[in-house]
């Protein structure tokens, strides 16, 4: 579905991504794990065009999306759920959802929009209860659901999820991960997920990539990565690193 080759992204003079090549197949959940500042979010931002790469190739459904403006990329079916959720706090839950479909908002589409909002409500029943509440007053977990719901409003075929568990209590983040696997099972959404909580992400994902200082150093099945001693030490908090030789 998505095939990226040799992406190089810079922040000014800082070379943030060095020849990153990854792919996501239809129906897959792919996890991108790595330490703080390794470039995980930059990969997502490069795909969605928020920080366009200077070089490389990103083929989405047969079209090179590199260099396209973000709104067009959204229209093509890629939707990103940003780190820290970034919901519109002063607006109501319903308005937030409507804004997720901003690119196809028109009088003509009104009835289909309504139906889509209903679909989101049936997926996240708690949002239906809170539909008229100001989004900023929702709990962290509810806000994350809202952010996911808002992304679903653009009918994405590929969802880019940035740190969905960030700032959430462990129990709540467990719920969120359960929702994400439901997204895959019930809505058949393809997902590229970036997570600090490597273990949870890998338990959810089919495959994973490990990124380190802007370079991909490993591509493996999730099981393989969970088995890998170096990954365990660096990202899963098992076995502390000892100096050898």
């Amino acid at each position: 579905m998505l095939r990226i080759k040799n992406i190089n992204t810079y922040y000014g003079k800082v070379h943030a991504l060095k020849n990153v090549s990854i792919h996501v197949n239809v129906g897959e959940i792919v996890a991108l794990i790595g330490a703080n500042g390794a470039g995980k979010t930059t990969v997502l931002n490069s795909i969605s065009g928020i920080t366009p790469p200077r070089e490389g190739e990103a083929i989405f459904k047969g079209v090179n999306i590199l260099g396209l403006p973000t709104d067009q990329i959204v229209k093509m079916g890629i939707s990103q759920i940003p780190e820290g959720r970034q919901i519109f706090a002063p607006l109501t839950v319903s308005t937030n959802l409507e804004l997720g479909a901003y690119h196809r908002y028109s009088r003509k589409n009104k009835s289909s929009l309504k139906k889509d909002i209903e679909d989101v409500f049936s997926f996240f029943p708690i949002l239906r209860e809170r539909r008229n509440q100001i989004a900023g007053t929702l709990s962290g977990g509810e806000q994350q659901m809202l952010a996911i719901g808002r992304a679903l409003m653009s009918k994405p075929s590929l969802l880019l999820l940035d740190e969905p568990s960030m700032g959430l209590a462990p129990m709540i983040s467990k719920d969120i991960f359960r929702m994400i696997s439901r997204l895959k099972d019930e809505l058949k959404t393809t997902i590229l997920i970036v997570e600090q909580n490597a273990k949870a992400a890998l338990q959810l994902a089919d495959r994973g990539y490990v990124i380190e200082t802007g370079k991909i150093i490993m591509e493996e099945s999730s099981k393989g990565l969970l088995n890998n001693k170096e990954v365990q030490r660096a990202y899963l908090g098992k076995e502390k690193k000892e100096i050898w030789e």
């Binding site: 095939r3 080759k5 040799n6 190089n8 060095k18 020849n19 090549s21 990854i22 792919h23 990539y209 490990v210 380190e212 370079k215 991909i216 150093i217 490993m218 591509e219 493996e220 393989g224 088995n227 890998n228 001693k229 170096e230 050898w244 030789e245």
Partner: protein, 433 residues
Amino acid sequence: MNIWDKDYECMPREDIEQLQLERLQSTLNRVYKNVQFYRKIFDKLNVLPEDIQSIQDLSNLPFTTKDDLRDSYPYDMFAVSLREVVRLHSTSGMTGKPIVVGYTKNDLKNWSNLAARILTAGGVTKDDMVQIAFAYGLLTGAFGIHYGAEKIGASVIPTSSGHTEKQIIIMKDYKTTTLVCTPSYALRIADTMVNMEIDPKTLNLRLGLFGGEPWSENMRKEIEGRLYIDALDNYGLSEVIGPGVAAECQYKDGLHLFEDHFIPEIIDPSTGNLLPPGEKGELVITTLTKEAFPMIRFRTGDITKLNWRQCDCGRTCVRIEKIMERTDNMLIIKGVSVFPSQIELVLYEFEGCEPHFQLVVDRKDRMDVLEVLVEVSERIFFDEMKKQRRLLENIKERLSSVLGVNVDVKLVEPQSIERDLNKYKRIIDKRVI
């Protein structure tokens, strides 16, 4: 026809190339970080791993040779710390320096999977009884197949090598359906069956997976005709992973090389240049998933060519032609690699030996026999018999321990080895394979 890993073995070309690029780049990033040998090469060429932007760019990097691996004895080529290594194997070199290879937990998992692929390609299922007559020990052959067979769910009979009569009794009583060994040993078994008056038709044997040495179509016909089985070839080498690199499917038209784990290249062995697709040359392999012992552009010394035409079995991965030749003078004696250069070094140790020798390889009772003819100086030759005998025994003992196989030695008069325009033929291979 069964395929063990359909997702990967039948991947569309485009997807396989993307996966290869991703895995190649991450392998390069890891070896640059963790293996000094490779970092030095990169730094010397003034390239960074990120300069490799396509599989074609790989050809800008130098080769890794057997000598490089010997020089890095024992652990210098490892890309992980030893506490992550769960298994060691090595090549046969008994003295001098063998090549030591390591495996992490994931490497073993991938290895089992690859072996499961070759067994499945050969037609082995969970209903089979697989008798493994490769030596269990430092060599990789037996273990790889063993894991693969267990993974499939077949029953493994780890008879290891030797004791041919016992092997046959086990084969008969345990109802072995699949034999795994070297092709020459399969013929030895057939001969022994005749002596034991056991009719192979009465056995349950139906399949043989053979590897470890080159063998011809004629030999295949003979094995198939005498043991009443399907005989299939598979290819692997310890430096890369062991058995599991490539294997024939039931169409017996080339060996499928598993491209999600290895990138093959074909080079001209004399110039090192890449050859156009489809031409015959030396096989060079880069590993894509190995964690403990990754190899970048390893020169296998094996001569073959690549065939990308899709096979009727449905696998899309490239096929290599059955390997019949090598680039160097390496001889495979009873599955152990022997280089003339090793013999030369040993002979230099003995006073009175000229560095002129000839190797005569033959097959007696299906097993390889290596005879070394050594020219000795006239002084020694006319010396007392006792001294001569002792020298002969010493050389024989030393050679057998260095090479890891028994050899016969014959002392001959100076200038008695046939020379052709002053160049004498170093190897005479009388084996019919």
